[in-house]
């Protein structure tokens, strides 16, 4: 299955290699570099690259390419999904998954990779099992270890490995028992020139932070479960209970995990919380253009829009932008050709506006197409789909935990065509 893994930074620096079978020379990555160069944007690198003797399957995450080497038939999604799991594990262990943290923790990274695959086949990918085998680094622990000489490596088989619920370890104890759930929804939408939605759907996840002692059995129910038509669950959730009763019944992993993700499709009417009035034009003569963008609230259910950001990928010929914003700050990067207007909190009384002129490369033909706008936003205390958690019940343990639910709506891939 997975033969080797190479980590390559966005700048093209190959900074980690790991082999699970015999060693494959890192020169195999030359094929990757070739494809990388051809693709221009890192996102455009084909996920599967064929070389004379190997196949390279890669993902791009946190400015790092995870390039795996394959020699025989394997479902590509299997590898891609595994690589993402590797990245998530790093994030889980080091707080972030970046070139620096990986380089700083290279030994732990190596120990993790050793445990995650055996002969190229996944062995332990469950975070809670890994944490018993290899303890995540903390300042306190590394201090204690240097003094006492004890190690970061577990000496016994994690209890989860043999249990039918590998995601939870035995003997969890907390002085205060808490369970928090974050309902996070992202709106993916395409608005056309006139501002009407060509397409809109909601991608939601429920992130959980459960710190409960012993072996609690939880049941989470919704006020309106019928909203969810396409769901996928953490392995701890019992499918059958969902199918028959529309409740989420599970024995939770310890700590942070993603309980479920769901999808509310285009058929349901999706509320669009923001409208954009825009006018971008390039003149036939004079190598210049005009830009005028106003953003206003639409269906916000009485909540405020926060962290509002408008991003525009300008055509190559735009050299600079001379604009003025009534609110927030703007920045145009002439190298990447990206205009970012960071608005912040939206004030419905006084709508923010960005206006001014663009200067183009002289002599170049005017761009065919106007650039589309990408919107970022955040609404606290609201799940835009209207999904509401009804209650959380704890079975199997006697204590009364502290429970909490938080709702957030964000813009996902939210694009306005111009």
């Amino acid at each position: 299955m997975i033969h080797s893994l190479f980590l390559i930074s966005n700048a093209g620096d190959l900074f980690l290699e790991k082999h699970w079978k015999s060693v494959i020379s890192r020169s195999v990555c030359d094929y990757f570099f070739e494809a990388r160069e051809k693709a221009v944007e890192p996102d455009n690198v084909p996920p599967v690259i064929r070389t004379p003797h190997h196949y390279l399957i890669n993902i791009y995450r946190e400015k790092i390419f995870f390039v795996s080497v394959i020699q025989t038939e394997v479902p590509p999604l299997f590898v891609i999904e595994f690589l993402h799991r590797v990245a998530e594990t790093f994030q889980d262990y080091f707080g972030e998954c970046s070139e620096t943290t990986i380089k700083d923790n290279v030994v732990i990274v190596y120990e993790l990779l050793e445990e995650m695959l055996d002969n190229g086949f996944p062995l332990a990918t469950e975070s809670n099992i890994l944490k018993e085998l290899i303890r995540p680094p903390t300042i306190l622990r590394s201090m204690v270890n240097t003094i006492t000489g004890s190690s970061n490596v577990g000496e016994t088989l994690p209890t989860g490995q043999l249990s039918t619920i590998p995601w939870r370890r035995a003997g969890v104890k907390y002085t205060s028992n808490e369970a928090y759930f974050d309902v996070v929804e992202e709106i993916d939408a395409i608005l056309d020139k006139s501002g009407t939605a060509v397409f809109a759907e909601i991608q939601g996840v429920i992130d959980a932070c459960v710190k409960l002692s012993g072996m609690p059995d939880l049941t989470l129910s919704f006020m309106n479960p019928r909203l969810l038509d396409d769901v996928s669950f953490h392995p701890c959730v019992r499918y059958k209970r969902w199918e028959s009763e529309r409740v989420i019944s599970f024995i939770p992993p310890d700590g942070n995990f993603q309980l479920m993700s769901y999808h509310i499709s285009a058929q349901n009417l999706v509320a669009i919380p923001v409208y954009v009035k825009q006018n971008i034009s390039f003149f036939e003569t004079g190598s210049s253009g005009r830009l005028d963008i106003t953003v206003g609230p639409k269906q916000t259910m009485g909540k405020t829009l926060e962290c509002l950001v408008v991003t525009v990928h300008m055509p190559k010929v735009v050299l600079s932008a001379n604009l003025s914003a009534t609110q927030g700050t703007y920045n145009y990067d002439p190298v990447t050709k990206i205009l970012v207007w960071d608005i912040g909190k939206l004030n419905p009384q006084k709508l923010p506006n960005l206006k001014g002129s663009l200067s183009l490369q002289s002599g170049a033909p005017k761009p065919e197409e106007n650039p589309s706008l990408n919107i970022d936003l955040k609404i606290q205390q609201l799940a835009i789909s209207g999904l509401k958690v009804n209650r959380l019940d704890v079975y199997g343990e006697k204590y009364k935990p502290f429970k909490g639910v938080k709702y957030v709506t964000k813009a996902g891939k939210f694009q306005v065509r111009t």
């Binding site: 900074f15 290699e17 082999h19 079978k21 060693v23 693709a39 455009n44 996920p47 599967v48 064929r50 020699q71 025989t72 038939e73 394997v74 479902p75 999604l77 299997f78 891609i80 290279v106 030994v107 990274v109 190596y110 120990e111 050793e114 002969n119 086949f121 062995l123 990918t125 240097t146 190690s151 970061n152 490596v153 000496e155 016994t156 088989l157 209890t159 490995q161 043999l162 249990s163 039918t164 939870r168 035995a170 060509v198 397409f199 072996m215 059995d217 769901v231 996928s232 953490h234 392995p235 019992r238 059958k240 028959s244 058929q267 990928h313 055509p315 065919e368 197409e369 589309s372 891939k413």
Partner: protein
């Protein structure tokens, strides 16, 4: 150079060596000196690390190993440290040890001799009481790619495969493909291990062993039969990566074993008499039902695996359920609208989906969407969009004109790539109905002055040549221009100019004769072979000379034949024959190790091969075999060995909790399917291990849950009396040989004992005491039955190792008040279990056992009727053997092996014409052989 490898690592010593070396070299030239100095630096550069590794402090060793591993991670060569590192393989500090393992696995291949020094440490590790250490010793041992240790690895794998810890067994499964790739000759032995591990009942092992199966012997479908239902039922609890592998394997399995659920509609009328109405095999249904919930998995690879399973195996009507998970069909059209920020390959794929979804109803929406794409800044994507419009136009006649007009507008686009792509697509569209579009052809003829993209120029020229009759005035003029620029054109354009010239010569030779000659002359001296050849060929064909042959007459027909309109095809076509979701499917090329998805069989292979109960295995009449529904059937779960019962500890407690809740819902479903699956008659009764102190935490993990299955007494299994109701003073005891493997000890014969309490008081503390056995024989008692109420029956299973003899096992059966002497004597047939052998293997094995003392013949059986199915059932009920693979030939073969020593027993019955049969038994154990012959003859003559 040996001087450099002093491992003591004392810098001063090395410096001395260096010093003398340098002095020696002083006479040499300067350049070489520098070279050699850098080489010396290379030799001594890791001295500090070596010193740290040699120290007594674990912390220093750890620090050194960490630095070495960091070097490995960066791809730096650290192989010269091998001797210093390998010494620490037995280090007490577990982190040091693990890092040494990492190092060893990386460099062992390069330093084979030194690597051998570490082997004994791993061999010791394999015996460690800590299962994690056993497992990691096996992991490293099997990862060291040194051929000399293959026999050691083989032995280690075999032992680990019967380890008590499922985690170690899982590691054994992982080691199988490692050994196989190191030494493919071990295949046969490894297959045996795979077979053994396939029978494992724990979810932990299932995924890994199927993975090993797929790598080592994916064609041995026969190994799956007996485990098929178990794998289906375990699937939901297997970890996600294992699920993917198992689902993919079962997809292939199902294609060989079941009938195509979609075929009956079309074929029934053709051969109505033969074909029975299609009924889905319950096992086929079981697979579809058990995989469906996995569509909700968080792991995309699992969802994809289920989706492809439904795509390849489900009846058409049911394939729809995967559409939501994958978002494949029409209602989800808008989900495939493209954002400018999507990566190019995603854009192209979305475009492909949109094009395939286009129909009369939605085409106008889709075309409007496509129009926005054409303005994109990503030119590759624009080109793909134009092609997509072309495909929509060919597929949906109604919009052809709309599309064509749209494309013609694009011809005035500023971007040349857009124009070029449009030209190519328009050319193909025009070919479908050229008469109506001569104005478009004219328009395109004008474009030739401006378009520079060779493919587009070639397309226009071809179009003008092909339809020169529609543009009689323009065509010669175009040729004139082309003749001028001929030498500067690209090859594909040149070829089309020659083509155009030839066609015009044939239709309008008056105006174009000279031009054509001129073009052909230019082509004659072209640098390109193809162009020169083409020119020569065309000249011979069209210009009449005295030498030119018969073909000349047909030149017009040849060149201006009506050509079929091209079909605009998807670039993703032609990959249907690959299994969906596979690497080969993605690349549209067979990757190494790809297993073809077989076609459905014409007629279903024998479904009974998947039956697990032995008695089911001979005849396929299921009705006979199914015992009274659920009667007395128990599935006992006990923990292994009495000493470990207490240490079930946390994980088994928690495990069964979650299992239970799943069980509840599952049993509901079972009720629904009861009619479908009458054979399903399991009910689980769990004896939960009590939670106790965690004193033996080490041991607790070793315990395994074994399932001892007791079977329902049915007609085919004979009950023997152990204690009569009268002698037992109201306690009646019967026993039978359940013919199930006795899982706590595979070398024991399982004896199922049924106690019936006919007294009017409770019987307490039923247990066994004082067994008197022949030497070598062993007995495994059943757990004491604490309390047996009046009138109730209790069934337990005990194991006896008879050492392959028919000697009786004597023991005392004790209640709280009385003791009874009893004995169990097995008929010879009960000392065997069936094994599966292919016909060839059977013959091979038989060939090895032909000597006088291992072969027992009778010339004729005293049967006067022909060997009938009645006798077959005799074999099944008495001698426990496996059926002959195809029972078609008049030769019946039965293979079994003795339970205790695993010695093969082969029975061959050759029927003779006109009745009678010859019986041959091949077995190395003389006593068993003779007794078996006697018993069989006796039974046959009854």
């Amino acid at each position: 150079m040996s001087l450099s490898y002093s491992c003591n690592g004392h810098i001063c010593e090395n410096l001395l060596v260096m010093d003398s070396f340098v002095r020696f070299l002083k006479e040499r030239e300067q350049e070489q000196l520098i070279k050699i100095l850098s080489f010396l630096f290379y030799i001594f550069r890791h001295d500090d690390l070596k010193e740290m590794l040699d120290s007594n402090k674990d912390s220093l060793k750890l620090e050194a190993m960490k630095r070495i591993v960091a070097m490995i991670a960066r791809g730096k060569n650290a192989s010269d440290l091998f001797p210093a590192v390998v010494k620490n393989v037995a280090c007490k500090n577990i982190e040091v040890k693990k890092l040494v393992y990492v190092y060893l696995v990386r460099y062992a291949e390069e330093q084979q001799d030194l690597a051998l020094l570490s082997i004994s440490t791993f061999q010791r590790g394999l015996k460690d009481p800590n299962q994690l250490i056993r497992a990691s010793a096996l992991r490293v041992l099997s990862s060291i790619r040194v051929t000399i240790i293959v026999p050691i690895m083989m032995l280690a794998i075999k032992e680990a495969a019967s380890d008590m810890s499922p985690y170690v067994r899982k590691t054994a499964a992982h080691a199988i493909p490692k050994l196989h790739s190191l030494d493919p000759e071990q295949k046969d032995q490894l297959i045996e291990v795979i077979e053994k591990l396939l029978a494992d009942k724990t979810t932990l092992v299932a995924g890994s062993v199927v993975m090993a199966f797929e790598e080592v012997c994916p064609d041995r479908i026969d190994l799956i039969h007996k485990n098929y239902r178990k794998l289906c039922n375990l699937l939901i609890d297997v970890e996600e990566w294992g699920q993917v592998v198992i689902i993919n394997m079962l997809t292939r399995y199902a294609r060989t074993q079941f009938l195509n659920p979609n075929v009956n509609v079309s074929i029934t009328h053709m051969c109505e008499k033969k074909r029975k109405p299609y009924v889905m095999d319950p096992d086929h249904r079981l697979l579809l039902r058990n995989t469906k919930p996995l569509l909700q998995s968080r792991n995309a690879a699992v969802v994809m695996a289920v989706a492809q399973l439904y795509f390849h195996l489900a009846p058409k009507a049911e394939v729809g359920i995967i559409a939501k998970a994958l978002g494949m069909f029409e209602p989800y059209l808008k989900s495939f609208y493209i954002r400018s920020t999507d990566p190019t390959q995603i854009k192209i794929l979305k475009l492909e989906v949109l094009t395939n979804l286009a129909n009369e109803a939605n085409i106008s929406t889709i075309l409007r969407e496509f129009q926005t794409y054409i303005k994109s800044m990503d030119k590759d994507f624009v080109a793909a969009s134009i092609q997509a419009i072309g495909r929509c136009a060919t597929n949906i006649g109604e919009v052809r004109d709309t599309c064509l007009n749209g494309l013609v507008q694009l011809l005035s686009n500023r971007d040349e790539l857009v124009v070029a792509e449009s030209v190519v697509v328009i050319k193909k569209l025009l070919q479908m109905q050229p008469e109506q579009h001569s104005d478009i052809i004219k328009h395109m003829a004008k474009l030739i002055d401006n378009i520079q993209v060779p493919m587009a120029r070639a397309s226009i020229l071809w179009l003008i040549g092909e339809y020169c009759e529609h543009v009689p005035k323009i065509a010669p003029d175009v040729l004139r221009k082309m003749a001028k620029s001929f030498t500067n054109e690209e090859d594909i354009v040149k070829l089309q100019i020659i083509n155009l010239a030839a066609k015009l010569y044939l239709t309008n030779s008056k105006q174009t004769k000279l031009l054509t000659q001129y073009v052909l002359n230019l082509a004659k001296y072209d640098q390109n072979y193809d162009i020169r050849d083409r020119a020569r060929f065309i000249r011979q064909l069209i210009v009449p000379t005295d030498k030119s042959g018969a073909l000349n007459k047909y030149a017009k027909k040849l060149f201006l034949a009506l050509k079929p309109a091209p079909v605009l095809e998807s670039p993703f076509k032609d990959r249907d024959h690959f299994q969906l979701g596979s690497l080969s499917h993605l690349l549209n090329a067979k990757a190494a190790g790809y297993q073809e998805l077989p076609d459905w069989p014409e007629s279903a292979p024998d479904p009974s091969v998947r039956n697990v109960e032995v008695k089911d295995s001979v005849c396929a009449e299921r009705t006979v075999l199914t015992g009274p529904e659920g009667a007395g059937v128990l599935l006992l779960q006990t923990t292994r060995g009495s000493s470990n019962i207490a240490s079930g500890s946390d994980e088994s407690g928690s495990g069964s909790e979650s299992e239970e809740s799943r069980e509840e819902t599952e049993s509901e479903e079972e009720e629904e399917d009861e009619e479908e699956e009458k054979k399903k008659r399991k009910k689980l009764d769990k004896t939960k291990a009590k939670k106790q102190a965690e004193e033996s935490a080490e041991r607790c993990a070793i315990h395994t849950i074994h399932q001892i299955r007791t079977i329902a007494p049915s007609g085919s299994i004979k009950m023997y009396e152990l204690l009569h109701r009268i002698t037992g003073e109201g306690l009646a005891v019967e026993y039978c040989f359940s013919r199930q493997p006795f899982s706590p000890d595979p070398n024991m014969v399982a004896v199922q004992i049924q106690f019936t309490n006919n007294t009017n008081s409770e019987t307490k503390n039923l247990h066994i005491e004082d067994p008197r056995l022949q030497s070598g024989m062993r007995i495994r008692e059943f757990a004491e039955i604490g309390l047996q109420p009046t009138g109730e029956s209790v069934t337990v299973v005990m194991g006896i190792d008879f050492c392959d003899s028919t000697q009786a096992a004597n023991f005392q059966l004790c209640t709280h008040t009385r003791k009874f002497f009893v004995s169990i004597q097995p008929p010879v047939g009960e000392l065997m279990t069936p094994t599966f052998l292919t016909e060839n293997n059977f013959k091979k094995e038989q060939g090895e056992r032909t000597s006088a003392h291992s072969r027992f013949n009778t010339h004729s059986c005293p049967t006067d009727c022909s060997f009938s199915s009645k006798h077959l059932s005799f074999f099944s009920s008495y001698v426990v053997v496996t059926p002959p693979p195809p029972p078609s030939a008049p030769v019946y073969r039965f293979a079994g092996k003795t339970v205790s020593s695993g010695c093969l027993v082969l029975v061959t019955v050759t029927t003779k014409e006109g009745g009678g049969a010859q019986l041959t038994v091949n077995c190395e154990k003389m006593v068993i052989g003779t007794m078996l012959v006697k018993d069989i003859l006796q039974a046959l003559s009854q």
